[in-house]
Symmetry: D2
Subunit: 141 residues, 4 copies
């Protein structure tokens, strides 16, 4: 996984993970940018039939995490989600949701992402800010 | 579902939802308090083998959402997660995680929850603040 | 104070408030938009000589609060800052900082703002998300 | 300034800073703990006569910043506020507010604080989470 990974390769990473269960698919990736989608179905809904806010949060954290991972040398560094803040401003009960992540700050040891999640008509559902730590692996233990 | 719902009844709500896929189990519920657990497995992990931070966020939003739902008359009101902020401070790669939600503010139209998620040894992994809106259903549309 | 208030009228509101002490000046105002600036000086610095992060937060809350206030009928409604999340990504030790607030969600009872604060060269220092509650005054007591 | 600094010495740090203008006074300090108070007056109010939410945020950032500063060797490290999330749950229009900061996570490069701000009767007004980066000074430039 690196800047030159194809979308097919990125999607293969999801095997046997939470992303696979949630049906997350990556659509586009670039330096400081990642786009993904997720279906609204039993695996992402809450009991009242609408998309679980937690599904949106997990999608946002996925987008930011992978977005940072393809920017660093994973042999040397680990990416760790450190802080998340999100506003939920809309609901959806069917179809797909689309998440676009944009890097808004690239520090020495941190990446800050904005992730907007919209429904199929482009209406904003959740908007998230996510801080990843970029940590030297040898500092981890 | 109300203040007198049993834990068995609360867990039955999870059928065919994201919580079922994630393996969330409710353990204790009371006025302004909810405890749940979630397994660390393929359905909640990220590709590097550690618990997905998004799984913790989804668990936190679940705990706060159900915690508020059992406090209000759901025939009249809807509970909507509105804002989430979380710090991830630890990682885990096996076993169960335990989430305890405590209501820290009960306003006219809002509930603010703190949710701490710990590993089996009680080490803090994520600490979340979640604001729910309590909305008159007839105001929704 | 309303949509047609002039910038001069808005700045007069600051007399005998925290904004006056901090030297906040409003520059532009519109529906869902407000721009202000604040000097970096003894009244906004921390002991190490750089702008206090709290000054940026106070500026952000000011911009979002006034931005919402000019959008509602203040005889009927009160605006209350409810939740704030911010990332500090840069420091500054002299000159002015500029804050631009844009409304990113207008709900029935809530306004969500994004406020970016930059130095004189346009470098991002802090980016904030702020949720205001728009509350019927007669519900307040 | 270090773990053995007296309260008198800590308060002297505020000269010619934002804290002095806001009237912040430190009351108690310890490892991972700091208590301070701030008056509700013209320098901390908004135009409608209630305490500015931004004053509470600035107080919270002050408490966490100083709380971290007395825990590290400032000749080697710098403390930088990186992320703040806060819920405002009450208002006040006179007297003093009291802030208690408790360190809830001490990482290698980060400190996460909880800061609760209450009125004189102990009613919660704002509750904040603040992440400080602890940065090697030689890495700053």
């Amino acid at each position: 996984m690196n800047k030159n990974s194809t979308i097919v390769q990125l999607n293969e990473l999801n095997k046997n993970t939470m992303m696979e269960v949630m049906g997350v698919e990556y659509l586009e990736a670039g330096e400081g940018y990642l786009k993904a989608r997720m279906p609204v179905n039993d695996a992402t809904k809450q009991p009242n039939g609408i998309l679980h806010g937690g599904a949106n949060l997990a999608l946002a954290e996925t987008v930011a995490g992978l977005g940072s991972a393809i920017m660093v040398d994973l042999n040397t560094y680990a990416v760790r989600g450190a802080q998340v803040s999100a506003n939920h401003v809309g609901t959806v009960s069917s179809g797909w949701v689309y998440a676009e992540g944009n890097l808004i700050h690239k520090g020495i040891n941190t990446h800050v992402w904005n992730i907007d999640i919209k429904n199929e008509e482009g209406k904003l559902l959740s908007t998230c800010r996510l801080t990843n730590f970029i940590i030297l692996k040898k500092a981890l233990d």
